[in-house]
């Protein structure tokens, strides 16, 4: 059953068989962008593209990148999750407090991830119970979760006592001398989730709901379940990122991860995931996150004040949105769309 003949003679269609155009993969734009950024970095300062610096680039990209993986699923479902950064922060705080309270770090890490998934579950249940877009629901829960982490953490940096050989210490280490463990976790997970999105029933359902929620419901796809599961996945990824952050940094400070949700959305869009739903690329989001981090490094190298980093991130979101929109318009125009239903 591996190789059925994929191109049987199409009865009566010889005259109108559309020619197969070469279609570039969705990640092309991001890959070109990354190459350009690395080229720029190398030109500015040749030493900034050596192995050590590249792996630190990967390490910086890993945490918001984990959120971006989840965000690709959410965006492919034509939703958006604003609360992801707050979930990241709360789970890190939660895990840190558990360790401080004397819990085994492994268990604390698992509890942190579960807490993230639980917050995602709450988001998801609200979305289907209130029949509201996740954008609105997570706008509310974002504030709530942010407030909670302030309450729980009392607005202070929490640094659990280091425990040698624990999961947290492992995460801050390096494998193969130079490659950061977080980077490996990030890349392996991204590849696995890419397969999940494109080759499993769950991924298929996510794309179907994102492409046309009404048609998905009419085809019997359990849209509510898909929405909840996707937001749970998003929460779990944010929780994982929070736990890893705690391990790698050894502490969680107020304000950490505040921009992560937006970074994740931006990376996903740069990576070719469409805001209008229906498709997404996890690999693209990884590349997109690397592009973003490269831009931030380039700004440092160029001597741009760190204050401007936020502005640049914002400008990138606008740019990414504009490109997404233009590409869609262009596609629709070519397909003679946007004015469908004119027959008759």
């Amino acid at each position: 059953m591996t190789r059925t003949d994929t191109a049987p003679p199409l009865a009566g269609s010889a005259n109108r068989r559309p020619g197969r155009r070469i279609r570039l993969p969705a990640e092309t734009g991001a890959a070109v962008g990354l190459a350009a950024m690395l080229g720029l970095l190398g030109w500015l300062q040749p030493s900034s593209v050596d192995a050590a610096n590249l792996s630190s680039l990967l390490e910086q990209a890993a945490l918001p990148g984990l959120l971006a993986i989840g965000m690709v699923f959410v965006l492919a479902m034509r939703e958006i999750d604003l609360s992801a950064g707050a979930v990241f922060h709360l789970t890190a705080t939660f895990a840190a407090l558990l360790v401080v309270a004397g819990m085994n770090p492994w268990l604390a890490a698992l509890a942190g991830i579960a807490a993230g998934a639980g917050l995602g579950l709450i988001n998801g249940l609200l979305v289907i119970a209130l029949r509201l877009p996740a954008l609105l629901v997570t706008l509310g829960t974002w504030w709530m979760i942010q407030g909670l982490s302030l309450v729980v953490g009392k607005g202070q940096t929490i640094a659990p006592p280091g425990a040698d050989g624990s999961v947290l210490a492992t995460l801050s280490g390096k494998a193969f001398v130079i490659v950061p463990v977080t980077g490996i976790v990030f890349v392996v997970l991204a590849m696995a989730m890419h397969v999940v999105l494109h080759r499993t029933r769950f991924g298929y359902r996510v794309q179907a709901v994102g492409s046309n929620p009404r048609a998905a419901a009419y085809a019997g796809i359990p849209t509510g379940k898909v929405r909840v599961l996707t937001l749970v996945l998003m929460g779990a990824m944010a929780g994982l990122a929070g736990v890893i952050h705690l391990g790698a940094q050894g502490a969680i400070a107020p304000g950490d991860g505040g921009t992560f949700a937006l970074l994740a959305i931006t990376a996903a869009i740069i990576g070719g995931t469409s805001l209008s739903g229906g498709n997404g690329s996890v690999i693209g989001a990884v590349i997109g996150m690397l592009v973003l981090q490269a831009i931030l490094s380039a700004m440092t190298l160029l001597g741009v004040d760190a204050i401007w980093a936020a502005f640049a991130t914002g400008a990138l979101i606008v740019l990414a949105l504009a490109i997404d929109r233009l590409v869609n318009l262009w596609r629709n125009r070519r397909a003679g769309h946007g004015e469908d239903n004119l027959l008759g």
């Binding site: 199409l10 009566g12 080759r199 298929y204 229906g278 469908d340 027959l343």
Partner: protein, 512 residues
């Protein structure tokens, strides 16, 4: 000058993507007359009207309005020329007051604020002429469908157009509403208004028109004054549809009635429906007829698990009752195929992706993986079986309307449906695909499906169904079968809820 026609359309063509909708359209509308354009849905009526309304621009051809060559590049340009248009979906705002609907985008201002008093003054006379005694401050949604239609016409008339275009204005109206509309139109004609009236109900068009143009496949095939129309020509127009419906296939032996799987509904209530009882057997096509609001769509929604029933005594062939969700329906091989293609198609996805909707998306058994190779194989099989003229990787949205509908049907065929609910399956598609889809519906019944078919086009019901259930205001008004099945009787049933023995004053029957 006043002898020249008000509107002249010459060789207008327009296509969308690869689909030619208007090929060579010609039309002459005389001043002060009512000109009817008739043709099946999909023939190009609505597109022609959208060209005249400035919504769609023609690829080629010329339009002359009032003796001068005109380019209608936007709805505003049409308005400036003096063309008033009432579209099939008039774009009204049900939550807003009637007044606000009458003056959309041209609200009279008084000191920079919208003056409700002036709106009332300006519209009062017109509404009286139209015989509309409604509270203009009430939300439009409170009005009946006939009144809403008249409001849409009033909105067009408020701009003092010289040509009024109506696209299928009676599709939401019952007979009384249609009579009232016709009285209004005749009154307007007496005042010198020129009108273009598009319809797919031939009898209606014959009743109101001075001139008549029949269009088919984007061309005008016949254009004549009403009086000059010979009876043979009338019959010919009426018969355009005859070849549309394939002969019934009799694959199931009719005698083994008790052994055939059946869908038994007794005393079903929910939505607008109350006490509905009927049985549908495998191998037959049961037509469902009813006006908007009669509850037919509620019945389909209940059977597909979209809404909850109040009283559910239903037995599906698999022995269970109503599905609780659409997912459950799909898993029990109960299918819903709707003419509203937004409900069935993922436009930006490939045909192969769309065809996996139910097999992969709805079911939770089988492989947990989605294999593109298998999806493409599946698509290739269905493309060949249903003669969809495309390749598996093509975006579903780039297909013609007929091709899109075939994809929707094909994705359900993949699971071997047991009960199939059709909701206007052939809406808005071209004649060739229509025939193919009708043949498919027949085939599905013949191969042992229980088929329920809802359509607003009565001829589609009489042409395809073995028997027809007529619904009126939430209850089953009657059933007709065999030789009794004609459009007039059916219309009587769905409009009045009862069959009057010899209601020969019923004159409405559709062309398509």
């Amino acid at each position: 000058m006043s002898d020249s026609p008000i509107l002249l359309v010459r060789n207008v063509a327009r296509s969308f993507g690869g689909t030619v909708v208007l090929e060579d359209m010609n039309l002459v509308i005389e001043r002060g007359s009512i000109h009817a354009v008739v043709g099946e849905s999909g023939a190009g009526k609505s597109t022609l009207i959208k060209v005249l309304a400035g919504i769609v621009r023609p690829d080629s051809g010329t339009i002359e309005f009032d003796g001068k060559k005109a380019t209608i590049s936007s709805p505003n340009a049409a308005r400036k020329l003096g063309i008033g248009v009432v579209l099939q979906q008039p774009g009204l705002f049900p939550e807003r007051p009637v007044l606000a609907n009458l003056f959309v985008n041209r609200e009279p201002l008084h000191n920079g604020l919208i003056s409700r008093r002036e709106m009332e003054a300006r519209s009062r006379d017109l509404l009286r002429q139209l015989g509309l005694a409604v509270d203009v401050r009430a939300p439009l949604g409170d009005l009946g469908p006939g009144e809403r239609q008249l409001i849409a016409i009033a909105r067009a008339l408020l701009e003092n157009p010289r040509l009024l275009i109506l696209d299928d204005p009676h599709s939401a109206l019952d007979r009384r509403g249609t009579d009232r509309l016709f009285a209004v139109l005749r009154g307007l004609k007496a005042k010198g208004m020129s009108m273009l009236y598009a319809s797919n109900r031939l009898e209606d068009a014959l009743a109101i028109a001075d001139q008549l143009t029949v269009i088919r496949n984007g061309r005008d095939v016949l254009s004549k004054a009403r009086q000059e129309l010979t009876t043979s020509e009338e019959a010919m127009i009426g018969q355009l549809r005859q070849s549309l419906f394939p002969l019934p296939l009799r694959a199931m032996p009719t005698l083994a009635g008790t052994l055939r799987p059946q869908l038994a509904v007794s005393g079903l209530g929910g939505g607008r429906l109350n006490g509905i009882s009927f049985t549908a057997r495998a191998g037959e096509i049961v037509g469902l007829a009813g006006l908007a609001g009669s509850g037919v769509s509620d019945l389909l929604a209940l059977l597909f698990g979209q809404h909850k029933a109040r009283v559910s005594r239903v037995r599906f062939p698999d022995g269970d009752g109503l599905p609780k969700t659409r997912t459950e329906a799909a898993r029990r091989n109960i299918c819903m195929i709707s003419g509203e293609r937004g409900n069935g198609l993922m436009q930006d996805k490939s045909i192969a992706f769309n065809l996996a909707n139910v097999v992969v998306g709805a079911r939770d058994w089988g492989s947990r993986w989605y294999s593109p190779v298998m999806a493409v194989a599946r698509a290739a099989r269905q493309i060949e079986a249903l003669r969809i003229r495309s390749a598996p990787e093509t975006r579903a949205g780039s297909l013609s309307a007929g091709g899109q509908q075939k994809v929707i049907i094909a994705k359900w065929l993949e699971i071997g449906p047991q009960v199939v609910l059709f909701d206007e399956p052939a809406r808005g598609i071209d004649i060739g695909s229509k025939q193919e889809i009708y043949a498919l519906i027949r085939q599905m019944a013949a191969s042992g499906c229980i088929v329920l078919l809802h359509s607003r086009e009565l001829s589609e019901l009489t042409g395809l169904s073995d028997r027809i259930l007529a619904f009126h205001q939430g209850r089953l008004a009657g059933e007709i079968a065999g030789p009794d099945m004609d459009g007039g009787r059916l219309l009587q049933l769905i409009a009045a809820g009862e069959a009057e023995g010899e209601g020969r004053q019923i004159k409405l029957e559709s062309v398509a």
